[in-house]
């Protein structure tokens, strides 16, 4: 593998200065940085670029820009169109497909769940909705007293949707027609005096949860068991999963549980959502290389 050729200049504090030779910077490939920065210029808003425009945008010389662009053309990531202007080509989609396919919900969530589990000591659960049941995808068992009340492992039977924080949160965020179908097939069995047993009351409860960042269940599944849940969203804003925690009434009051752990649970869910490609409206444009905007989603 030949040594990287040098980019000629770089933008430092608004000034063009000669780039630092690669030999003095053995751990950094500026070519790679520049090439990726070029790729990220191509957005749905601005899908076509000329060499001069790219060079100006990235503060690079035209000859350097040209070299990276022809490399990207040769690799099939860019294609040349009319008037020597360039746009994304098929192989870039290949890169996109690989990037998306190699990132699965459970893998995304795992480090964040582990972190929350380690810091809180509570059982942390990742789950998805499957009809009338909540299917647990991953869980880390807490070490606190009262945590083993309900089996929350991926191998356990699905949890009921109407009396758990996870279930109510996922159900609340379904499209209306899908929610109606799930509710129509539910049998609301009284598990504790607090269990919601009327469909009207359930719908009212779900109305309050929809769109919220946290849901709670107050001894609705089992006596003494509190649970809270927060949504995980994807790039399309769809709620595809939820993470939850539970606590025993003998250890903590529900309000304190929500107050103390809720923000951490929501923050963890937000981090997983970010990994899934979800962006809130106020963060749809994150800064890219050298302050170049990331491709708008």
């Amino acid at each position: 593998m030949p040594r990287t050729r040098l980019a000629t200049h770089r933008l430092v504090g608004g000034e063009m200065v000669p780039s630092i030779p690669t030999l003095e910077e053995p751990r950094y490939s500026q070519s790679l940085e520049r090439g990726l920065a070029i790729l990220e210029c191509f957005t749905p808003e601005q899908p076509v670029w000329g060499i001069a425009e790219l060079a100006d945008q990235l503060g690079m010389s035209r000859s350097t820009t040209h070299r990276y662009v022809i490399t990207l053309v040769e690799l099939g990531h860019l294609k040349q169109g009319k008037k020597r202007r360039y746009s994304l080509a098929m192989n870039v989609i290949d890169l996109g497909l690989s990037a998306m396919a190699s990132t699965k919900l459970r893998d995304h969530a795992q480090p964040f769940l582990a972190d929350l589990h380690r810091r809180s000591g509570y059982t942390v659960v990742l789950a998805v909705l499957d009809g009338p049941g909540v299917q647990i995808v991953d869980s880390l068992r807490g070490r606190r007293r009262g945590q083993g009340l309900i089996d929350l492992s991926p191998a356990s039977a699905p949890l009921p949707v109407y009396c758990t924080a996870l279930g109510k949160l996922l159900l609340a965020n379904l499209p209306e027609s899908e929610q109606r179908r799930v509710i129509a097939e539910l049998t609301l069995t009284r598990r504790t005096p607090q269990t919601i047993t009327s469909k009207t009351a359930l719908r009212a409860d779900l109305q309050g949860i929809r769109g919220e960042s946290l849901a709670a269940a107050d001894e609705e599944l089992a006596p003494g068991m509190y649970s809270i849940a927060a949504p995980i969203r994807t790039e399309s804003r769809d709620v595809v999963a939820a993470i939850g925690m539970d606590a025993h009434a003998s250890m903590i009051a529900l309000a304190d549980f929500i107050g103390a752990l809720g923000p951490h649970l929501v923050a963890t869910a937000d981090r997983v959502s970010a990994r899934m490609g979800y962006r809130r409206d106020d963060e749809r444009h994150s800064p890219g290389v050298n302050g170049v905007g990331l491709a708008g989603l």
């Binding site: 593998m1 040769e74 890169l95 190699s102 009809g131 899908e178």
Partner: protein, 264 residues
């Protein structure tokens, strides 16, 4: 991919860029976490060179290093991947119609495109009705599956111009995924004739995985070429026999038509 693109003139292209991009594609669903040695082997590069590119990608925010010192793709790569998928007009046109299809059926609605001898899912809305989780396991945005096993693949292939269809069939290796996978080319051609006769609706009956059934129809572009397919995947026990075709067939056809019209 790490070899100079032009051996006569190695300086013409940036080999660092070539290697760095290749490094991003080393990460797969099966191997989401990789060490320097894994990447060096996959790319046929020296370890110090590999380390240098990995460090660069970490600095740029494309890779993350976990407690084990191994690497994984960062959310920035998913962002870039999404931006790349979003550059496909058919994905943009399909997004809302697919969302509606999912909402109306409660089942997982996907958009598949032909990708070599595979079908790649470039948009996906997860349904939540009972049994869906097991059916969708392992298939997500960006997943590729062999074209002959999936409803979307069969729907696309069936509508290709004859010469192209023939050329692609020649290339196919009909690997068996389940006992019901079509593994003979003659049987596949018969299947395509049946799909065309059925208004272009393709049925997949546990051919990709046990317990999964699916139904798909191709999206035709203004020139009359199949450029994508709308697919609904369902648990086999929820839609037995004709229920799949009768209940979901018309919805899939209408969705595919809507997307095609939006492309005009």
């Amino acid at each position: 991919m790490s070899k100079p693109l032009d051996p006569e003139n190695p300086g013409r292209f940036s080999s660092s860029l070539v290697a760095g991009l290749a490094m991003l594609t080393c990460f797969t669903p099966e191997h989401p976490v990789l060490g320097i040695a894994d990447m060096a082997d996959a790319l046929d590069l020296g370890r110090s060179t590999t380390h240098r590119y990995a460090t660069t990608l970490v600095t740029l925010g494309y890779l993350e290093q976990g407690p084990s010192r191994k690497y994984r793709l960062s959310s920035r790569v998913s962002d870039m991947g999404l931006a790349m998928l979003d550059s496909m007009p058919v994905r943009q046109a399909a997004h809302e119609p697919l969302r509606e299809l999912r909402a109306r059926t409660g089942r997982t609605a996907s958009l598949g495109v032909l990708w070599g001898t595979e079908v790649a899912y470039i948009d996906r809305w997860h349904g939540s009705l009972q049994g869906q989780h097991a059916v969708d396991e392992g298939i997500g945005l960006g997943t590729r599956v062999p074209v002959h096993c999936a409803a979307a693949g069969k729907a696309l292939l069936a509508r290709l111009p004859a010469a192209e269809q023939q050329a692609l069939i020649t290339e196919l290796r009909l690997t068996r995924r389940t006992a019901k996978t079509i593994t003979a080319k003659t049987a596949l051609r018969v299947e395509f004739e049946r799909i065309v006769a059925e208004d272009g609706v393709a049925i997949e009956d546990e051919e990709l995985s046990a317990g999964r059934r699916a139904i798909a129809a191709a999206v035709m572009d203004p020139e009359g070429r199949p450029i994508a397919a709308v697919e609904l995947a369902v648990p086999g026990e929820a839609y037995t026999g004709e229920a799949l075709l009768g209940e979901l067939g018309p919805k899939v056809i209408v969705t595919a038509l809507d997307i095609g019209l939006a492309l005009q």
